[in-house]
């Protein structure tokens, strides 16, 4: 009984306006890399999906979207049930073919290289990776520059994929191909499209 409640509840209270609100946050985030945009708490998804990741999923996923989810999510019946019920997503088992990836455990995240990077003719056929983190005052400060940033912007997500700067530099190197990142914090989100450069890294 509890599991079913978990699956059917916790979606947007107003599909039309909540998804518009979250999309605008995503659009602004993508257009201003590293800017942290508060979206409050619009969903309650079953663990391990966070409220923000749940809101992003409900905004972007549907049966036309192929999504790769990491093990803690696919291993959770309520989490997968919630995603299916609220978004109708198409689960994809191969990260390189997925339009989206949902990462709840950054430690075990596959390399950026293993996701879809698009082709030189269709660079848009690539994976947008949504990673769950706690907050945006992490120990590692990245200095970002590139489109969407007037000069530079400091960005410090609480956690980052392993060897992130190296991985990201490689991702930047294959532009216009590449992956894009959405960071889903507790009640806020930020993004790093493939155009963003990490100009320096401070301890």
């Amino acid at each position: 009984m509890r599991a079913t409640t978990q699956i059917y509840e916790g979606g947007f209270s107003d599909t039309v306006f909540n998804s518009q609100e979250v999309f605008r946050a995503l659009m602004d985030a993508m257009a201003s890399p590293g800017r942290i945009i508060d979206i409050g708490s619009l969903t309650t998804a079953p663990t391990p999906i966070s409220a923000t990741a749940g809101a992003v999923a409900a905004t972007l996923f549907d049966h036309d979207a192929t999504v790769w989810c990491d093990k803690p999510i696919t291993g959770s019946v309520p989490a997968m049930g919630w995603l299916k019920f609220h978004t109708g997503l198409e689960v994809n088992l191969n990260p390189s073919d997925a339009q989206f990836a949902l990462i709840s455990d950054l430690e075990a995240m596959p390399s950026l290289e293993s996701f879809g990077k698009g082709t030189s003719e269709y660079p848009d056929r690539s994976t947008t990776i949504i990673v769950q983190i706690e907050n945006f005052d992490g120990p590692q400060e990245l200095t970002l520059s590139g489109p969407g940033i007037e000069v530079t912007r400091t960005f410090a997500p609480s956690r980052l994929p392993r060897m992130f700067v190296e991985q990201w530099t490689a991702n930047r190197g294959i532009f216009p191909r590449g992956v894009d990142l959405i960071f889903a914090g507790k009640s806020a989100l930020a993004a790093m499209p493939r155009t963003t450069r990490i100009s320096k890294r401070e301890a």
Partner: protein, 300 residues
């Protein structure tokens, strides 16, 4: 009888909005690249702004204030029609003031007033492919973009120079975005090209019939194609606006009689009205003292 349809907020169904939203995010991530999208049939004709309308419909929300312009003016019939459409299907606030708008949908102009952070400019695009008139085939132009093969475009522009002494492209003048993609800025006069460069506003482009969305994020390098010996230059007008006296704004020629009489006025009506309300006057403005000294007619 099929029961009367009730339409969704901003007309589009949620699935369509998601599809367009996904395309917009990709477009922002790959500045200047044309993302294919499953453009829908809209209740206005293809070629009349369906791409821009779909983009606006996918992003607009109850907190937005919308401005719609065509040829720079808020009161041209198609601008009126599109604005009325959004008032009907989304009941958002509308405005003619550039500074008040969060979303500005435009056809053929970029407002004279500099855009700000947080504003989104949505362009209606008829032919998104800058290489289309050099190579009509999508299969070919796609390869050219993939290989960054833009030689043909330079050849075309250079042929102009050889024949006419200067580049004979005056609108839809191609730009290179962030040093990678050659992009069509939509049929804006090349006068507006410099406004795209490192603009604090987000610029989204929608081509409905051709099913493409592309974008320029804020603070992005947008360079008009040119040559060292023939640098890009914008149009200049020899006289100021006849109504507000502005110099350095884009002017429309208005024919006054059939004897060659004409005058030049700002194409951006909001900009012009603002200046007039601030007390600026042109030689044909409503102020009688001014009007007396200049008979209506051609100023040359």
């Amino acid at each position: 009888m099929t029961e009367l349809a009730t339409y969704n907020f901003a007309y589009l169904d949620e699935q369509t909005k998601r599809m367009i939203r996904r395309a917009i995010l990709k477009a922002i991530a790959i500045p200047g690249y044309q993302v294919p999208f499953a453009s829908r049939e809209m209740p206005m004709p293809y070629g009349w702004g369906t791409g821009g309308v779909q983009v606006t419909a996918a992003i607009i929300g109850p907190n937005d204030t919308l401005k719609v312009i065509d040829q720079g003016a808020d009161d041209t019939t198609n601008a009126v029609s599109i604005r009325a459409f959004f008032q009907k299907v989304s009941s958002v606030r509308v405005t003619t003031k550039t500074t008040e708008a969060t979303i500005i949908q435009t056809r053929h102009r970029i407002p004279e007033t500099a855009l700000q952070t947080g504003q989104t400019l949505v362009y209606q695009v008829p032919i998104p492919e800058p290489l289309r008139f050099l190579e009509p085939r999508e299969t070919e132009t796609r390869k050219m973009h993939a290989l960054e093969e833009y030689g043909l475009m330079h050849v075309k522009l250079y042929e102009d120079i050889a024949r006419h002494g200067h580049i004979a492209t005056t609108y839809a003048y191609p730009v290179k975005v962030e040093g990678r993609y050659v992009m069509d800025p939509s049929p804006t006069p090349k006068f507006d090209n410099p406004k795209m460069h490192r603009s604090p506003a987000l610029q989204l482009f929608g081509a409905g019939r051709e099913k493409r969305i592309y974008a320029i994020p804020p603070y992005t390098e947008v360079v008009s194609l040119d040559f060292e010996d023939h640098p890009f230059e914008i149009q200049t007008f020899s006289e100021p606006c006849a109504l507000c006296g502005a110099r350095g704004s884009y002017l429309d020629e208005v024919i006054l009689d059939d004897k060659g009489g004409s005058m030049f006025v700002c194409s951006d009506t909001d900009f012009c009205e603002d200046r007039q309300s601030e007390g600026h006057q042109g030689h044909l403005s409503a102020n009688p003292a001014q009007a007396d000294t200049h008979a209506a007619g051609v100023e040359k």
